[in-house]
Structure formats: structure tokens, C-alpha cells
Amino acid sequence: MEAVTKLDVEAIRADFPILQRRIGDRAIAYLDSAATSQKPVQVVEAMRRFTEHSNANISRSVHTLGAEATEAYEGARARVAAFIGAPSANEVVFTKNSTESINLLAYAFQNATLDPHADPRFRLAPGDEIVVTEMEHHANLIPWQQLAQRTGATLKWIGITDHGRLDLESIPEVITERTRVVSFTHVANLLGTVNPTSQITARAREVGALVGLDASQSVPHIPVNVAELGVDFIAFTGHKMLGPTGIGVLWAKADLLDAMPPFLTGGSMIKTVTMERTTFADAPAKFEAGTPPIAESVGLAAAVDYLDKLGMENVRAHEKELAGYMLERLETVDGLAIVGPRVPIGRSATVSFTLDGVHPHDVGQVLDAEAVAVRVGHHCAKPTCDRFGVNATTRASAYVYNTHEEIDRLVEALGKVRKVFG
């Protein structure tokens, strides 16, 4: 069998009924996948089938539906583990979204710090340092800010160059012997920068710090293999990778999951419980208190199947091409300034820009009237906005179902913006 080398975008589009949706008299050009992706019928159908055929709570029953639901859920875990090259399905924890995944990690440090018997790798003290970057989504910034505040640790960060890249030269200075954990974004959601990971990871290893990666914008778009990356944790989210809302993933090395205290507590994560005292199950159950997103796990597995069938290398190639085209075409727009890397190298197909004299809200509104859906605002990355002296940007982001023609429509619609606000 020959490998498919290119995406058949027309065939893909047929799987996404929402792309037929009309705004006014035109089909929508959905260029907002960095916020959330659309879902193919395969995902919706898998969830419907599960709900109408096998729906039950998991893990705790011997009846047929319960057994099927448990198999579906654990099967989804194995499916996700394989997709990211995790050595064991038990290293995959299902959460509700990336945000919870990162909070779970930050609270592991907070709770360990409150427990003198906890694993020393997770116990923080004043003087200890936590490192992030200036291009983080708020989800990978605020939990660490709060952790620093509550433990007395210090938050530090790697800055951004004028070209929208991480200031790698500052690494030796920012990551020091006092650094206990480094958490940084793999692909920046506002700038579109794809960060090289090896230098940061190597330096973190050198100083004995743990390393986490916010992979929310990478797992959906490029091949991600946790073994190759050599990090300790990654977080990502179902709804950005063709899957449903309500499910996210924390992957972590088995021995770290063992060492981390529980976060949410309740049913299905225990060994024994008395009124006085509880002992906890092994990971991943330890971190999955309560009824998990069961139907959502089925949807996520279907999304992973879909992406695997396309081939993540093909997805990357398709988006690289779109990124190049988008950058090239946008540069032709009068008064448009790109915020982030201006070349399609080490960047995703997510492009933020400002339009001279027109506020992004107004840009987005006019684009919407032209049936072009983009996102406007600070994209939950206010520090990045501050770094580039803007209050907000307009952001267009492409995915497997987007075409050159849709980018042309974006550019055309930007002309219309000029007309309205000329």
C-alpha cells in the first residue's frame, strides 16, 4: 500500500457538514481552528452510536453495557497513548481540557508542598523557581503564577524576540540551579511560533528541573512523540483536534504520576476509604475522580483515528503550505502588520495581524459579514500582546479542511474592511 502524500481536501470537507453553513449567501470560510476545530461526522457518529448502544458508567459494573463502556473508555486511552508515542496507556490521564491538565500539574506541586511526606520533586519552597515563557496562553501562565504565590516560589520567563521567537540566548540565565520546573508552549497560539524544544529541555535536565509542554496547538497539527521530545509532561485538548469539547489529556511519565499527589478526589480513584482515611489507586485512575467524559473519550478516539488516517506528516505539510500562502497573501494587504514570525518556517498556519487604524473587533465583524470566521482579541495571551504593544489582534488559523480559496476570501474581505473604515 502506498502512503497518501497529500490531503484530499475536498474529500475531507465533505466530512464536515458545518462547512456548508451559509452566512448571508456564502458558505462559511472557517479560519478559527486555533480556537476550536470543527468535528467530522465520524466523530459525531461514533458518539451517537456509543450513546444509543453502549452508554453506561464505567469501571464499576459487570453488566454488558458497563463492560462495553469501560472497554470503549480504556480503548480510547490506549488509542491516544499510541497517537503520541506514550510507552504505556497508563501514562494518559483524561481531564476536561488542557487547562485542567496544566492545573492538575500545578496543584500536584501545591498539594505536595503542603505534605511533608510528599515526593521532594514536587515540593517547593521560597527561592525555588518556576519558568515559563512570555508567549504562553493564560492556561500555561496563571496556574504557575498562582502556584508561585501560594508556595513562595518565584516565577521567571523566557522573553520573545522582535521576530516572535523565543529568546533562546537567555536560557542559561533564566533556567538556573534553582529552577524546579519549566513549562512552555510547543506552538504559540497567538504568534504561531513553533518552539524548538531541545535547548530548553537540555538546560532543564542540566539543572534537574522537570519539563512540561503545553501541546494544545501542536498535537492537533504536527506529529508529536513524547518519547522523542524527552519531556516529562504534555497537555492537550480534544476540541482543537477534531474531537469533542469536554475532554483533555495530561500525559506524564509513569514514575512522576506515581509521585504526584491526587488533585480532584472522589469516586473511582481510591483503593480503600474509611471515614478517617483514604488510600489512592494507581495512576491514571488516581487522577480521574468521578464520572469521566465517557462519550467524549469515544469521540476523541474517533478524532485520533481520523487524524491518523490523514497522517500527521501530511497534516503538517498541508498546513505548512497554507501558512506560506497566508503569509504571502496577507503581506499584500495595505496597512497590515503580522504579529509573529513572517516566514513559514518554524511556524504554524495560525497568523495574527493588525490592520492600521482599524480595531480587530471591527475587522472581525466585517469579515463575518463576508462569511469569513476569524478570531479577534487578545487570544488569552495578553502578555504577548503587551510585548508587541498591541491591545488585540485579528487571527486567522487554518486546519486540514481549509483551502487556498478561503485564504483568498480572507484577503478580499480585508479589502472590504478598508472600504468601510477607509
Binding site: H361, H378, V420
Partner: protein, 150 residues
Amino acid sequence: MNLDELYQEVILDHYKHPRGAGLREPYEGESHQVNPTCGDEITLRVHVDGDTIGDVSYDNVGCSISKASASVMYELVNGATVDDALARLAEFTELMNSKGQAEGDEETLEDAVAFAGVSKYPMRVKCALLGWMAFKDALVRASTPGRTEA
């Protein structure tokens, strides 16, 4: 959607030529408001002169809707009695919450009736109200500290 309905001439005119912009003295109350979804900001001062709004001055960053709305508000409340200004605030807020169902009374709201179309766009209603919220807040502050007659 109908762009013209949203971006009426009068709105674009206020946007391009904002009335009463800039921060001035004297003032008794100042408010800083942020729209957390887009980062838009306004700093607004109110000078109350007896029972009249002596001046409303402001500095803002924002979209056409939020900037035009502040400008239109300036025209409506500046020089009005405090009671009338509060009545306009109530009227305008009601118009914005009408989801396209109300037209607004041109007698009282004047240019602000042009914002009736905005009320159909829930994501923009916050923009249109930002300046008014700042005005409301500044007025409360103006009447709180040393003043006896509110």
C-alpha cells in the same frame, strides 16, 4: 448580516471624530473599565457641578462601536442634569439589551438610536456599553467620598 445596519454613518462619524475626547480637570469621579474579552479600555472622568454633569472627559482604546458609543454618550450627558443623565443610561442599557427588538426614542437618545442595530450582536453589546459603565461607575465615585448631596 447587514453591515450597514451595524456600522451606520453616524456611528462611523463619531468613531472618526470623537466628541469630548481627552482627560480634563476638574473631576470628582474617575473610572477605569476593561472589556476582558478583547482588552479594550476606557478611563473616564466625571465633573459634577451642582445637580448637573459639568464635564465628561475620557481616554479610550477600542473598536468603532465602543469609541463611537463613548462619543455619543458625551453629547447626551454632558451638561445634562444628573437625573437626566441617569435616565439616558437606563434607556440606552435597555436598548442594548433588546436583541434588536427596540428602536430607541430619538427624542431622548438622539444619535444613540443608531446603536439599535448593535443590540442584535451580543458580542458587541459589551463594546457599546463600556463607556456607559465607566460613566455610571465614575458618577458613583463622584458622589461617594466628600459630597453630601448626591
